[in-house]
């Protein structure tokens, strides 16, 4: 078996090493170099780019990214939990409802983000409708702020919480809920003290699946935040394009990678095997 297995793994190993690990290694190298006069990179080797990470301007962007990603994750969990609970109790229609949750995920993320631009902008559907109804006289500033970014992220990643929450709620031992009821617990008490604690694995998995892409989001803050809502992803992109400071962009990228990996190790520990 071993020879066939080696042949089967070799092409993917090549792709992973050449097109993923080697590029990361180059970024690691760049992060310790100096910015060239016209952009690009030059010697000497230095850790200066990492030192700049603690500059208050960049710490503010980091903090903002954490705040936006955290708020989006919390909202996804709060909105996703009742939906997952509903689907887990839906009997034979479960798969249909799961399909309904996943269907938007299969259409373009870009299109879904654009749909909110269409709805929220000054001459968008919501503002036009509210003005026609005479409820407002000037358009509300719905687009290009942190709220719009969080809305876009929640809309984009809600399915990522519903699926793992559904998976744990589905496996939940129903007799425990009956026991709680028999012992006199009100439905809300059962929910708070039995159902939610028992779905902790699903909550953790859903939180990771949403928080990580939100933390590194680029498209949503760019389109819905309109440049006002800069997150880490936009900072990195900016360093490699407009600012042309590759070493610093590389250092920010690696810092982001480090945060993501720390989170994974911290939260996924005790989950047993990783997803693969």
């Amino acid at each position: 078996m071993n020879r066939l297995r080696a042949w089967f793994l070799a092409p993917t190993w090549t792709v992973v090493v050449v097109l993923f690990l080697a590029p990361l290694a180059i970024i690691l190298g760049y992060s310790f170099l100096t910015r060239g006069v016209y952009g690009g990179i030059t010697s000497p080797w230095t850790a200066e780019s990492y030192g700049r990470l603690v500059d208050p301007i960049y710490l503010a962007i980091l903090w903002r990214s954490f705040w936006i990603a955290g708020a989006s994750t919390a909202l996804c969990l709060i909105l996703g939990f009742p939906l997952a609970l509903f689907i887990s109790r839906a009997g034979p229609r479960k798969n249909f409802y799961l399909g309904l949750v996943m269907l938007p995920f299969w259409t373009s993320f870009l299109v879904r983000t654009y749909a909110w631009m269409f709805l929220l902008r000054d001459t968008g559907l919501l503002n036009t409708a509210l003005q026609k109804l005479g409820w407002i006289h000037a358009p509300l500033p719905l687009l290009y702020n942190d709220g719009a970014v969080i809305l876009g992220l929640v809309y984009g990643y809600l399915p990522f919480t519903v699926l793992p929450l559904y998976a744990t709620l589905e496996r939940l031992d129903r007799t425990l809920l009956e026991a709680a009821a028999d012992l006199g617990a009100k439905p809300w008490a059962t929910l708070a003290r039995v159902t939610i604690p028992l779905s902790a694995p699903g909550i953790r998995a859903g939180a990771i699946l949403v928080f990580i892409p939100c933390l590194g989001a680029y498209l949503t803050p760019d389109l819905l935040g309109g440049g006002k809502s800069v997150m880490i992803g936009n900072l990195i992109q900016n360093q490699f394009t407009t600012a042309r400071d590759w070493p610093f962009g590389a250092a920010v990228s690696l810092a982001l990678m480090a945060i993501v990996m720390l989170l994974l190790f911290a939260i996924a520990r005790g989950e047993g095997e990783s997803l693969l």
Binding site: V16, F20, P82, T107, R112, L125, L223
Partner: protein, 255 residues
């Protein structure tokens, strides 16, 4: 129905509306005769505008070619890899694939860009379709491996042993016993790879050349300038196209 269950059902209905209404409204307004967000009657003018916009049609063709080639390559490589990992796990490879999956797109994109520019010092090549396709293979292969491995876990390994006992060689055991059993998973994986490839903007925009502009890049460029009914029409086409592709594959999977 108990009031609590009814409340939950009501909530679920609201959540489904939240998930689907924005795309539905966008699709409806793609048929609006007016350029503005006021309904003025049914019209196909924006669809006709899509067909007559050479930038949109050319980029759509580019996107289809890129997604098709990248899907073909990553599905084949990823399926072989999943099979190999199913036989015996390799922590370094599985870990690297997992890492590639959680790496923020912007980081994958800029590291590939830096890598390409470094390579180009030695080779006389430029950014173009080939660099985009390679990038797409790189980021979609992990999706394929995950989906196919999930399917392999449902396969009874003793079937292959039986085939080997009956004189099949290892390749034949894979080709005629296990591969047919995991084919629905392979198709699902290909579909996922196609979707993530066709939709990608962040990585593509960084590694694309002048001749390899993709549909998401054009949509993005228009969206940054504001809302344009032509994008409503193309969005509706994408939603309907991918929606029916998924429904079709779902039917394929369950039959």
């Amino acid at each position: 129905m108990k009031p609590r269950t009814a409340g939950l059902a009501l909530y679920a209905a609201g959540a489904f509306l939240f998930l689907h209404l924005p795309l539905l409204i966008l699709s409806i307004f793609s048929f609006n005769a007016s350029r503005f967000t006021v309904w003025e009657g049914f019209s196909l003018r924006w669809y006709s505008a899509v067909l007559h916009d050479s930038q949109l049609t050319e980029s759509a063709v580019n996107s289809l070619i890129i997604a098709f080639v990248a899907t073909l390559v990553s599905t084949i490589l990823g399926t072989l890899c999943a099979y190999g990992l199913w036989k015996r796990n390799s922590r370094p490879l599985a870990g690297s694939l997992y890492l590639s999956l959680v790496t923020p797109e912007i980081v994958t994109g800029i590291s590939l860009l830096a890598f390409y520019q470094w390579i180009f010092r030695f080779l006389r090549v430029q950014l173009g379709m080939h660099t985009v396709i390679l990038a797409h293979v790189a980021f979609s292969i992990a999706y394929v491996v995950i989906v196919v491995i999930a399917r392999l876990r449902t396969v009874d390994g003793s079937l292959e042993e039986a085939a080997l006992d009956l004189g099949a060689n290892e390749w034949q055991a894979f080709r005629f016993v296990t591969l047919p059993a995991i084919l629905p998973g392979v198709i699902a994986a290909a579909l996922l790879a196609f979707t993530v490839s066709f939709d990608d903007y962040v990585i593509t925009s960084l590694v694309a050349g002048v001749d390899s502009e993709t549909l998401p890049m054009v949509i993005y460029a228009i969206a940054r300038r504001g809302v344009n009914p032509v994008v409503n029409a193309i969005s509706a086409l994408i939603v309907v196209g991918f929606g029916s592709l998924v429904l079709f594959s779902e039917r394929l999977r369950t039959t």
